[in-house]
Amino acid sequence: MADSTRQVQVKFFAVLREQAGVSTLDCATAARTPAELYRELQAGRGLQFPADLLRVAINERYATMETPLSTGDRVVFIPPVAGG
């Protein structure tokens, strides 16, 4: 069981930060990918934002929603922003 959970830090940006109510969240998760992690957060933190419009970065580098997660990863979810 210890092998199947990992400790990650999640950072939210813009509308996601508002919906999550926090900028940063440390969490233990069974999610293997950002897609799974986001589904957990949608259920657990009430995030409304559609997953298919998100960008995700892992450890300060853009990644895909299917990139495998490891313990210690810093995961950032970024929604589209276009205001000017």
């Binding site: 950072k11 940006f13 813009a14 509308v15 930060r17 508002e18 900028s23 409304q48 934002f49 559609p50 419009l53 960008r55 970065a57 300060e60 580098r61 853009y62 895909t64 950032v76 970024i78 929604p79 589209p80 922003v81 276009a82 205001g83 000017g84």
Partner: protein, 511 residues
């Protein structure tokens, strides 16, 4: 309406021509011949105009003012010939339903007349001395010079006289004159970017004023670009500011970005962002893009020809899909957030011109949060599936489901060609891509090289389509972008010369 006359101006008669029942205000400006200029006594002025040119330009100036300030009727008359002290040299009257527009339009017309009208004047001084004075520079001569205006900036070791000259020679396009565009354009103008072009089709609204700092309450209803351009010229009369009261469209985007030193994307929608990005890539112009949501913003620099483009950033998602995102634009915004991001865009453009850009900034997104004053950089890697910037994905055209047939021949040379491999290609057409102001040095250019302006895509396509061709530009970046583009279009044997023109010692002269 604009008129030239060699007869004395009758202001009462002109004023009568502006009378109309719907007008609630009339603002009149009269320019008089005075008896001194630049500390010297003046006895008489002679005005001389390029008649035909002056009439066309004058009509354009009054029409622009009427367009920018709806409801205003503008009449302007300029004298020619010999004028005595106290005589009327120029008369401008603006009738309008409201006084605000009338004052603004009148001010705009006289500033544009001073700046653009092809009229010269000869000043007569006591003792039968006379000299021609250029009307357009007369208002700033003596008070402002590049030497004193930029003194505190050019003395930075990173700028210096050469940096200041590079800024003066630069041409920057600012698209979107809103919360980002206003501060960005202001700092570009005061820093001495020689040519600024502002593009926006919007009118000033009351709800713009809290963050769009080039506009005042009196500007509501006026064309944004006209007001912004006039204000920037007042801030720094040493730079040229051009106003384009238009939207960026697929039809005009390439002409707008071609030949620029940099483009600032200060717009508020994804359709325009992608359009500008793709055009900048095609024209080989660096792009500085920013976007804001409430207290937070995002800054991206895109280098033409580099990987990790806007399509990579969105993994191939289309603008229409992104526009569906909730709270994407048009919502509440913290004014300093657009201010900070707009000024950062100006800073990045200035650094590009001054060659102070850290290369890492071309490859990352910077997220700025004004709530905790934090800045977070994210590396923007190339998307292996990117249809636009990936070298391995040359056969797929953006938006096409099925890739077109690969027309590349069987040779094994990569798109970026090393100079030592040129000979192995066999007979090949060398195409030297020239930037605005560059010319090919015939003495050192290899026989058979054809020089083509970088913006002449039609000619480049035609030449490259005839068979094996090598594109060479100054540094090798723009040629790589163009070669990629041509490959995407199906041109097979086209290559970009690694290292650019310098690699094979083709002489290029900067004009």
């Amino acid at each position: 309406m604009f008129e030239l006359t060699d007869q004395p101006i009758d202001s009462a008669a002109l004023r009568a021509r502006l009378e109309r029942p719907e007008a609630g205000a009339c603002v009149v400006f009269e320019g008089w011949v005075r008896n001194h200029h630049g500390g010297r006594p003046v006895t008489q002025l002679d005005y001389e105009a390029f008649d035909e040119l002056a009439r066309i330009e004058g009509d354009a100036i009054t029409a622009e003012a009427e367009e920018a300030h709806p409801g205003c009727t503008v009449l302007c008359v300029h004298r020619t010939g010999s004028l005595a002290i106290g005589e009327l040299a120029v008369w401008i009257g603006v009738a309008s339903p409201h006084r605000h527009g009338a004052f603004l339009a009148c001010r705009q017309v006289i500033e544009e007349i001073k700046r653009r009208l092809p009229v010269w004047k000869k000043e007569h001084h006591p003792g039968n001395i006379a000299e021609w004075v250029n009307c357009t520079t007369e208002s700033t001569a003596g008070r402002l010079s590049p030497g004193n205006y930029y003194e505190r900036q050019a003395s930075l070791p990173e700028v210096g006289a050469s940096g200041q000259a590079a800024l003066a020679a630069a041409s920057v396009l600012v698209v979107g004159i809103g919360g980002l565009g206003c501060p960005a354009a202001l700092y570009l103008a005061t820093s001495g970017v020689g040519r600024l072009t502002l593009v926006d089709a919007g009118r000033v609204e009351v709800s713009n004023l809290h963050r769009q700092i080039l506009f005042t309450a009196d500007d509501v209803g006026a064309a944004k670009v006209s007001v912004a351009a006039a204000r920037l010229r007042m801030h720094n009369p040493l730079v040229q500011v051009e106003a384009r009261d238009a939207d960026v469209t697929p039809g005009n985007v390439l002409a707008l970005v071609a030949g620029r030193t940099a483009v600032l994307d200060c717009t508020d929608n994804f359709a325009t962002r992608f359009l500008l990005h793709d055009a900048c890539r095609q024209a080989g112009v660096p792009l500085v893009q920013a976007a804001v949501y409430r207290f937070e913003g995002e800054l991206n620099l895109f280098e033409p020809g580099a990987q990790g483009c806007l399509h990579c950033l969105w993994s191939g998602r289309k603008p229409a899909q992104l526009e569906t995102a909730p709270n994407c634009s048009g919502g509440p915004v913290f004014a300093p957030a657009v201010g900070v991001l707009g000024i950062m865009q100006a800073a990045e453009a200035l650094k590009l011109i001054l060659r102070l850009t850290d290369p890492i900034d071309f490859k990352q997104t910077r997220l700025i949060n004004l709530l905790d004053a934090s800045s977070y950089g994210i590396e923007r890697p190339a998307d292996p599936a990117c249809p636009v910037c990936g070298l391995a994905q040359q056969t797929e055209t953006p938006g096409d489901a099925a890739p077109p047939p690969r027309s590349e021949s069987s040779d094994d040379f990569p798109l970026i060609l090393q100079p030592q491999d040129i000979a192995a290609l066999g007979p090949v057409q060398m195409i030297a891509l020239l930037e605005a102001g560059e010319a090919l040095d015939a003495a050192t250019a290899p026989a058979g090289a054809i020089a083509v302006p970088m913006v002449d895509l039609i000619r480049i396509r035609e030449l490259a389509g005839k068979g094996p061709a090598i594109l060479a530009c100054r540094r090798g970046l723009r040629s790589a972008a163009l070669a990629r583009l041509l490959r995407i279009e199906g041109v097979g044997r086209v290559y970009a010369l690694a290292g650019g023109l310098g690699a094979i010692r083709i002489g290029v002269i900067s004009a």
